[in-house]
């Protein structure tokens, strides 16, 4: 079915799914979430108005992701001490909307800050850092085997977490590289020569936990953790390394995520997770974070070209962000070679 506006088709779908008349009001696409088309809307039902978010697969995606994993991640953490929005409905076949999508509760009143905005969280950066890294610690502390995310199956063994992730992201570079990238290639070889110790436990890994992927109230409190589409099971240090990547520091190299010092972030995370950060192992995950980032930016450059140059966000990611990531990778390699 392709007739009617998106709002009309969504209304038809939800009316059938909820077995009651639903009309859609104020549907509007919002920016962000490069791997999904994201819309806010109100669903008007006999029981009242529900503020919701629609996340629909785009024709081209920045990263290949499984919308089911995002939905299960939200189910795993909503209402459990993590500000995960309530998942509402998952449609894998697309139905009236033609492409897979899911609907989740909308959390109004918060702000998302660009990681490229300087000093985005002042004057509440330290308080927000406590919430940001504390929340990540609570995600790491959870036992994935007891959560809905376990439905994904096939968890790695403790000693294979690193290899699974490195194989995946280096494979993305192999497939999508348009211009030879010696810097990230050198980093990949270093990672293979210097594997980290086995994970201390299996954790839910958000996969894109960073500044810019949450809503905050402007007073130092996170009110929604967003963009769970790369969630998987793995080493808890993976998310910590990604969250601390210099790319997400708002150009403030003294504060990770633009919030607190690295030592403070680790201390907060350790208190919340009950886990310890092995600093030698963490070096591996820090470098891996930059490799994974570069894989995503390389992939976005290819998708920008393959998709007919339509999405400016793909251009930005595959261009400015890729160049910045190369700087970060080169700095890390220099430290390791010293």
């Amino acid at each position: 079915m392709s007739g009617g506006s998106l709002a009309e088709r969504l209304g038809v779908y939800l009316s059938r799914a909820w077995n009651e008349p639903v009309t859609i009001e104020k549907l509007a696409r919002i920016s962000g979430g490069a791997s999904r088309e994201t819309y806010k809307f109100d669903a008007v039902t006999p029981g009242g108005l529900r503020p919701l978010i629609l996340r629909r697969d785009p024709p081209a995606s920045l990263i290949e992701t499984d919308r089911r994993s995002e939905f299960l991640a939200l189910k795993s953490f909503h209402g459990k001490g993590v500000a995960a929005p309530e998942p509402v409905i998952l449609e894998l076949e697309g139905a009236e909307l033609e492409r897979p999508f899911f609907v989740m509760a909308r959390i109004d009143g918060g702000a998302a800050s660009s990681p490229f905005a300087p000093d985005a969280y002042a004057p509440h950066a330290a308080k927000l850092g406590e919430d940001f890294f504390g929340t990540l610690g609570r995600i790491a502390a959870a036992d994935p085997a007891t959560l809905p995310i376990a439905e994904l199956g096939d968890p790695p063994t403790l000693d294979q977490c690193w290899r699974r992730e490195l194989d995946y992201w280096s494979g993305v570079i192999d497939a999508d590289e348009l211009h030879p990238q010696p810097i990230v290639r050198a980093a990949i070889r270093w990672l293979r020569r210097n594997p980290p110790p086995p994970a201390q436990k299996l954790s839910v890994v958000h996969g894109d936990y960073r500044s810019g992927n949450f809503l905050h109230d402007g007073q130092g409190k996170m009110i929604a953790v967003l963009d769970w589409e790369m969630t998987h099971i793995g080493d808890p240090l993976e998310d910590l390394g990604w969250a601390m990547d210099p790319l997400w520091r708002h150009f403030d190299m003294g504060r990770v995520a633009g919030m607190v010092t690295k030592a403070e972030a680790i201390a907060i995370w350790e208190r919340a997770s009950g886990l310890k950060v092995d600093l030698k192992a963490f070096v591996w995950w820090e470098l891996f974070a930059s490799v994974k980032g570069q894989a995503i930016w390389i992939s976005s450059a290819k998708e920008y070209r393959d998709g007919g140059y339509k999405e400016p966000i793909l251009c930005f990611s595959g261009w400015y962000t890729a160049r910045r990531q190369d700087e970060i990778l080169a700095e890390r390699l220099a430290e390791l070679a010293a």
Partner: protein, 144 residues
Amino acid sequence: MTPSVREVLTGCTVALMTPPSADAGPDYAASRAGMVSMMLGLATQEAEHAAGAAIAENADIRGVFAQCGGYDAALGGRLSAAAGEADLALDTPTLDAVNARLRRLLIELHEAVEAADDAETNRAIVALYGRMAQGRRMALGGGR
């Protein structure tokens, strides 16, 4: 390098000529326009610097090749051949094509250096990476 200025400008044109869908709200349209504006600003930088950056990077890579004669036999004499070349055509597509060839050879050289456990040459190549990244640096607003 990718995307090229030509591709970016094509993309900006496509974005500006494509009307927003009926479901795109004003916030999305404004955000998209802002992103196009940012791309045009970056394209200005790239148009001014891309050729110079490619020439400098190619020369820098050749300079490292010239210092790595010990690996030349293993790489079939390609290091010395590449080290002796110069950029004669100065249009960006040609410079990029040469740069791609040099970068591929640099990857091979670095692999050979690592296999030989040659820490000194490894540091020289890693230092080259730093200069390459700095040479291609782009700045957002405020010089960041």
